[in-house]
Symmetry: C2
Subunit: 196 residues, 2 copies
């Protein structure tokens, strides 16, 4: 046998995501219809929407697994380190891509950060991240994830991470880790560069 059903499905999923990324990059997210992505991936429009509940989701890939990894990293982290250092480290680890994956990552993030429809959709993803981080903070501080502090840390660290991504995208030089650390350092130290 050359392929089981599961392997088949994974191959199809990969084809869909590549087709989506390439077509959206080439012609813009809104100008490409779901039909065209499906055709390019060799499946029907109906099946396309079975793989991805939304056109936008085709860009994000297996994002749920990234969130799960972030969650795992935070749960397994050493509690002796400062909370923000733990979160920073988790963000860096989750986004530790090999050089061969960087082009796809750039392509994906460029779309997410520049296409309005994807920018909007991203908020729903960010909310999942924020929740995971807020829960970690609540565990560490003994409060509720619904309190101000956990929520604030979740939202602002995510803002820092996304800012690092955006700057990494626009500059063709420094590493993503470097930007992440710079952003988290500013946040952790109360923005010393603002020269208060």
């Amino acid at each position: 046998m050359t392929s089981t059903g599961k392997e088949q499905a994974e191959a199809v999923r990969a084809r869909v995501e590549r087709a989506a990324l390439d077509l959206f990059t080439l012609r813009g997210f809104d100008a490409v219809t779901a039909d065209e992505v499906a055709d390019a991936a060799g499946i029907s429009r109906r099946t396309f929407f079975r793989y991805h509940p939304t056109k936008a989701d085709a860009v994000w890939g297996d994002f749920a697994r990234h969130v799960a990894r972030l969650d795992r990293l935070l749960r397994d982290a050493d509690d002796s380190a400062p909370v923000l250092a733990t979160i920073c480290r988790a963000y860096v680890d989750v986004n530790d891509y090999g050089p061969e994956d960087l082009p796809v990552l750039r392509q994906r993030m460029r779309l997410i950060l520049t296409e309005p429809a994807l920018q909007a959709h991203s908020q729903l993803r960010y909310a999942e991240i924020d929740r995971v981080v807020a829960e970690h903070v609540a565990r560490r501080t003994g409060g509720s994830p619904a309190d101000l502090l956990p929520r604030l840390v979740g939202a602002s660290t995510r803002a820092a991470a996304m800012t690092a991504f955006a700057v990494w995208l626009s500059e063709n030089g420094a590493s993503l880790r470097g930007h992440l650390h710079r952003a988290f350092d500013e946040l952790t130290q109360g923005f010393p560069s603002l020269s208060r």
Copy 2:
């Protein structure tokens, strides 16, 4: 004459927004069609989309003016105060509603923060705020709005403000200003409550 065209248009706009807020609150954003909002406001579906480019926009009201006010406040602010204090004050001033406006504000923010479609749409609005704040930071620090620091300050202060809103919504007690100040204090001082 009882009303000029402009006054007429403002009255229609107000009716549309009230109808939208009430229907969305009552039955959920997705379950209400644009036709129904239009009918409730006494206009046609086609005209509804002339007043608001998107169903989601009907919830936001005159948001552009809020952004413009924030921009004005930041431009007119005293440069001797710390940057973050200036931004905090601007946020507080922009959101300084009278007691009679609080119910509508709650209704609006509850929708925006809980309905997924509106949550997604909100990112596009946040981007405008982030830009204005980042430009202010760039002016104060002499850098470019595209640099890491201005972007980071824009994104994280907005995160702080929205977190304050969310907590204010879920708790029926403290004032919005109070939550805003608590959030900005944490952010400004490097999250002292995390007891590093």
